[in-house]
């Protein structure tokens, strides 16, 4: 909402500068986002007479002029305009003048010739767009030395851009803002002149010309109509046009301009119908459904269900509170007008405007609630302005149809409640003063509370807490002190995963993984590569952000490509975030029919270690990622072992799931060639994701101390020939199962294919750590364990001990 400084002063007296006013408004909740200075864009420009003009001795295109500035002592000014000539009357920016806000004219020497000012063109004075052809030549009748801004009637003014919050419909006018100013300044507001000079009034009443029937009293409580005749749709006076332009409105003719002017002045939207174009003279306010209607912007609009319309008999002529119809709008030939000033229900107007995707100055105000006592006042004000400025005559009385009187709300304010909410006491006389200046009428008071009537312009104030907000908003938050202590009553720490998630982050940082954060909204094609159970957004900003990510992989891959294209190929990052699937929700999901889960994703690509003088770099493999996952799984501390299952996936060419007790807790894989090509990745990429909700649902291991063996462990190596179809992790499990008590650890330290039949056989070498908690092993005992291992692997996998 734009507020014009000089206009505001018509409603309330204050002596603050525009800056001061802006600060004060901001501190009452009407945030001023900017101040624009208007009127003359210059200072110190006077009328001058060119006494003589000579060619500049050192420059062909310059002239040296003597200019009389009214004091009888002509000064020398160098001028570059081709049209300058002796005898002209011109605007002169004198030494010390300011143009365009900050350009100060100084005494100067131009190519060796003294210059005491500047002869101005229209564009230099900010009165013409672009560049003018030469200086502005004025009427000779103007007297030298007169202030040029005064002659042009350009008064300095300010337009404040005020951000009005959604609850403050009352502040969408100059009168409304003036009420807050009045409360701040301890003054009262002035209502504008409403008396209409009797010479502009006819003997007839509006009711002789028009009947009003309200069929939907909930949606329209009041409808005031005023009949005017003998009008001309002529131009509005200059001052009104200037203000409308400053408000960002385009002046049209006096009939339309006045409706806008009064709306900006008092906050009541008005509409002028061409009386002669109304088919019958009975205005009906009623709802319609499924109607097609052409508004005055010549657009045909399909109206939603139950749209409130203004009708001339049965034909709609306006969408109530939103926009008039083309069929009844004021045109150049209009001479009779029905002026509408009504109260429409905010939510009714909003519903229709929303469905039409049409927001007007009028609907904006109705949606926010206007003063239900303002209709006749605004109609009278507009009628006065139209007839007094534009001629014609008005009926001496409007038609006022009140379908449903709005009750006056009375509220009780408990003084103890003020203290309870704000933590401070506001002196009672200050409470009185604030509420009084905001228009609240006191109707009763005792030692503990007071009763007030809410003014009709504040429909947002309906509760005691709203009154408390009004008090502190004017009184000021600076009156609320900070306490010495932060009082704390004990609440048990609520279960949260904050620390756990952070521990994971730090763990991964230490392992070299960089954290990234990806957009959760991804392209449909990317999402559909992962799953068909996608969650689309109904109103996406663009197709590229149409689907909620079903997994972290697509976002991470997109980021991998971006980095690759910046020449960063060695990638090692993780993300922790929410993923979304449209499927029957799991037990931890809060939304039925959707599965929103928290995942931890990893991406590895490029070289495993940076190049260095003391070791060779090596391209990452799936086993590098698997190693990290193994370490992270260790950190999760499950009570039950994690098992792996090799699976098929179109997204991944090597793909494994991680499971605990048949519950899938994550996966890892190398992305397939087709996915790699889809993203334009130049090198293999390895990805893993953990499902943190699943993991949190699992039983954690409870750590129990186990006595450390005093006896030295023994390491033994054994290598076996075995069929390539045998899985290494099954061999590991089999070895451990031979003697879980003594075989403390088994690692695989060598794997290679048999030279003779590389397609069928491989050698797998194990290193066992054997330890007896009770005593030192004898050679026989070790021999016994190793034999048992050989036998077990033979019987289970037909493995043969190498070198045996």
């Amino acid at each position: 909402m734009k507020i014009i400084y000089s206009w505001l002063k018509e409603f309330v007296d204050f002596d603050w500068t525009a800056e001061e006013l802006a600060n004060k408004l901001t501190m009452t909740g009407l945030e001023v986002e900017g101040i624009e200075r208007t009127g003359a864009g210059f200072k110190g420009v006077v009328v001058g007479k060119v006494v003589s003009r000579e060619k500049h001795p050192n420059a062909d295109k310059l002239s040296v002029c003597m200019v009389d500035l009214g004091d009888g002592h002509p000064v020398q000014i160098v001028c570059g305009a081709p049209n300058v000539a002796a005898g002209q009357t011109v605007p002169v920016a004198t030494v010390g003048a300011v143009l365009g806000g900050d350009f100060v004219i100084k005494k100067a020497a131009i190519r060796g010739q003294e210059s005491n000012g500047m002869i101005c063109s229209k564009s230099e004075l900010g009165l013409e767009e672009g560049k003018s052809d030469g200086i502005w030549i004025l009427e000779d009748s103007l007297i030298a030395g007169l202030d040029f801004a005064t002659i042009l009637n350009l008064k300095e003014d300010y337009v404040l851009e005020v951000a009005i919050t959604a609850n403050r419909g009352d502040a969408l006018s100059h009168l409304g803002v003036a009420r807050d100013v009045a409360a701040l300044a301890g003054k009262m507001v002035r209502i504008p002149d409403l008396s209409i000079d009797p010479k502009y009034l006819s003997q007839s009443e509006s009711s002789e010309k028009i009947k009003i029937e309200i069929e939907s009293p909930e949606a329209c409580s009041t409808y005031v109509g005023w009949y005017l005749e003998g009008l001309e749709a002529r131009q509005s006076p200059e001052w009104m046009q200037t203000r409308l332009k400053q408000m960002g409105l385009r002046p049209r003719n006096i009939l339309v301009d006045v409706t806008n002017y009064v709306m900006m002045e008092l906050g009541q939207p008005l509409h002028a119908f061409d009386y002669d174009r109304l088919k019958t003279k009975t205005i009906k306010v009623k709802t319609f459904s499924g109607l097609s209607f052409t508004t005055l912007d010549s657009k045909s609009r399909q109206l939603p269900e139950n749209a409130l319309m203004i009708c001339d008999g049965e034909e709609p002529v306006a969408i109530a509170g939103i926009m008039g119809g083309e069929n009844s709008e004021v045109v150049d030939s209009t001479s009779k007008v029905l002026l509408e000033s009504a109260w429409f229900n905010p939510s009714s107007v909003r519903k229709t405007a929303k469905k039409l995707s049409l927001s007007t100055d009028s609907s904006y105000r109705f949606e926010r609630g206007i003063d239900h006592n303002l209709q006749t006042i605004a109609a009278r004000r507009a009628t006065k302005l139209i007839v007094e400025l534009g001629g014609g005559k008005a009926s001496f009385k409007p038609v006022e149809a009140v379908a449903k009187p709005t009750p006056v709300l009375e509220l009780t304010l408990r003084f103890a409640q003020v203290k309870r909410i704000l933590g401070i006491e506001i002196p009672k006389d200050t409470i009185h003063q604030i509420l009084d200046s905001l228009g609240f009428k006191m109707v009763g008071e005792n030692s503990t509370e007071m009763m007030v009537k809410v003014p009709s312009h504040r429909p947002d104030v309906t509760r005691e807490i709203d009154l408390i907000e009004e008090l502190i908003r004017i009184y000021g938050f600076h009156h609320v002190p900070e306490a010495e202590t932060v009082a704390v009553s004990y609440t048990p720490e609520q279960k949260s995963y904050y620390s756990e998630e952070n521990n994971l982050r730090y763990l991964l940082n230490g392992a070299g993984f960089q954290e990234i954060l990806c957009n959760s909204m991804i392209p449909k094609a990317d999402a559909e590569l992962v799953t068909s159970e996608i969650v689309p957004i109904l109103n996406p900003q663009s197709e590229d952000m149409g689907i909620m990510r079903p997994a972290l992989a697509p976002g991470m891959l997109a980021i991998a490509v971006k980095n690759q294209n910046h020449g960063l190929a060695d990638l090692k990052f993780f993300e922790l975030g929410h993923c979304f699937l449209k499927k029957a929700s799991k037990r931890y999901s809060k939304i039925t029919g959707y599965d929103e889960t928290i995942r931890l994703g990893f991406l590895l690509s490029g070289n495993f270690m940076p190049v260095s003088w003391n070791h060779e770099s090596k391209a990452v493999s799936l086993f590098d990622l698997k190693g990290y996952l193994n370490a992270v799984v260790g950190a999760f501390q499950f009570a039950d072992p994690v098992t792996l299952a090799v699976k098929e996936s179109s997204y991944y060419e090597d793909y494994l799931t991680l499971n605990v007790k048949n519950q899938e807790i994550g996966y890892l894989g190398k992305i397939s060639k087709s996915v790699q090509n889809f993203y334009g990745l130049k090198q293999p990429v390895f990805i893993a994701e953990f499902y943190l909700d699943e993991i949190r649902s699992l039983k954690p291991k409870v750590a129990r101390y186990q006595e450390l063996s005093k006896f030295l462990p023994v390491e033994k190596d054994m290598a076996f020939w075995v069929s390539k179809t045998v899985a290494a992790d099954e061999m590991l499990l089999a070895i451990k199962s031979v003697n879980a008590e003594f075989i403390r650890n088994v690692i695989i330290f060598d794997v290679f294919e048999a030279k003779q039949n590389p397609d069928q056989e491989k050698s797998v070498a194990f290193r066992m750590t054997l330890q007896n908690p009770e005593k030192t092993f004898t050679d026989d005992e070790i021999e016994g364990i190793m034999n048992a291992i050989t036998q077990t692997l033979d019987s289970k996998f037909k493995a043969r001990l190498r070198g045996a």
Binding site: T26, M27, G29, E31, T165, A166, N167, S347, R350, K419, R420, I421, G423, I424, I465, D466, I468, E469, I472, R473, F477, H478, V480, E482, V486, A487, S489, T491, E493, Q494, Y498, R505, L508, N509, Q514, E515, L517, N519, S520, M521, I537, L538, N539, P540, Q541, M548, K562, N563, L568, K572, F573, F574, H578, F580, I591, Y594, E596, M609, P610, W613
Partner: protein
């Protein structure tokens, strides 16, 4: 052979220390001279079986180094000055080890969370896919009220949306917990706003909620000042401006004195000396009622701030999209 090497080791040990230049020279001739013991052993290396050659060679080298260093250190002592003969250039860089880093938004968020945990707040979370009830209605956003226009919303279906703020978690917390409640709720939120250098269609918020008996605006201002001083520095001042949020009343916007210019005015604070960082207010009685808490018994405050904007202020990031580009060169700066 290995046995012989062992013997020479013992012989060297027995001849130390070398206390004169004559002793040093005699030692050199005995062990490292052309006919010295060590040199003789090297000559025998040729006859060692192939598979042992590597191992024996290694042991011999160690022996030779031992004898030479004995001479070197004794000579240095003799000359009255230290002598360093590096075996390798120690100025070569170490084996590269690179830690990952946290995303700058996580860094800032963690710091804030730690401050509030220190002040006694628990961390709570909620879904990003949210019902209209939690995101709007329970928070006192009426149907068909312009307050709903304050937040451009992405919809999944008629009733389901992407949460536009973390405030719905307030309701979820109040549903699951009786007062006193003291929670902070960090998380990702979505607004259907055009992407530019200054705004993105998703960002992060940190919400705070405290419900107890006798909680007033004084308590709110106290906690906000404590937070501002912990986060921005001990000299920080705060300023409250009245504002409007449907779920708090009275509501305020909070400015903190600019930590860069200390209130004098600079580019970051647009020469105002103040930075707008959060919104706050006393929990609206309608919100308490929606969560089945009696507003006549309990009162409380709530606040919320945008993490992304604060991170941009702190690090001088002038384009919000950088936070989402995840360029490693950018991320590794934090």
């Amino acid at each position: 052979m290995e046995e012989q090497i062992k013997l020479v080791h013992e012989a060297i040990d027995a001849s130390l220390p070398l206390s004169s230049s004559d002793a040093i020279e005699a030692f050199r001739i005995r062990f490292l001279g052309r006919k010295g013991t060590v040199s003789a052993l090297f000559e025998q290396l040729g006859s060692v079986p192939k598979e042992q050659k590597g191992q024996v060679g290694k042991l011999l080298n160690e022996l030779k180094i031992k004898a030479q260093s004995a001479i070197d250190s004794a000579s240095a002592a003799e000359n009255g000055k230290s002598l360093v003969i590096p075996k390798t250039d120690l100025t070569l860089p170490g084996t590269p080890v690179q830690f990952g880093r946290l995303h700058p938004l996580t860094v800032v968020l963690n710091e804030m969370i730690e401050i509030f945990r220190f002040l006694g707040f628990s961390v709570a979370s909620g879904p990003e896919l949210e019902h209209d009830w939690y995101n709007f209605e329970a928070l006192n956003f009426e149907h068909d009220h312009p307050a709903r226009d304050m937040q451009d919303t992405y919809f999944i279906d008629k009733d389901l949306l992407l949460r536009t703020h973390t405030s719905p978690v307030q309701i979820r917390v109040m549903e699951n917990q009786k007062p006193p409640i003291r929670s902070i709720m960090p998380g990702r939120v979505y607004r259907n706003e055009a992407v530019s250098a200054r705004s993105y269609c998703l960002f992060h918020q940190l919400e705070g909620l405290l419900i107890d008996k006798n909680v007033s605006f004084v308590d709110l201002k106290t906690i906000l000042l404590a937070f501002a001083r912990e986060f921005f520095g001990p000299q920080t001042k705060i300023k409250l401006r009245p504002s409007y949020f449907p779920f708090t009343e009275p509501s305020a916007e909070v400015d903190v004195s600019c930590h860069l210019c200390h209130g004098k005015g600079c580019r970051v604070c647009k020469h105002s000396g103040w930075l707008e960082i959060l919104g706050c207010g006393m929990v609206d009685p309608n919100v308490l009622r929606a969560a089945k808490i009696d507003p006549e018994v309990y009162s409380g405050y709530a606040f919320g701030m945008g993490i992304d904007r604060i991170a941009m202020m702190r690090y001088g990031i002038d384009d919000i999209r950088l936070l989402w580009d995840n360029n490693l060169r950018f991320l590794q700066q934090f």
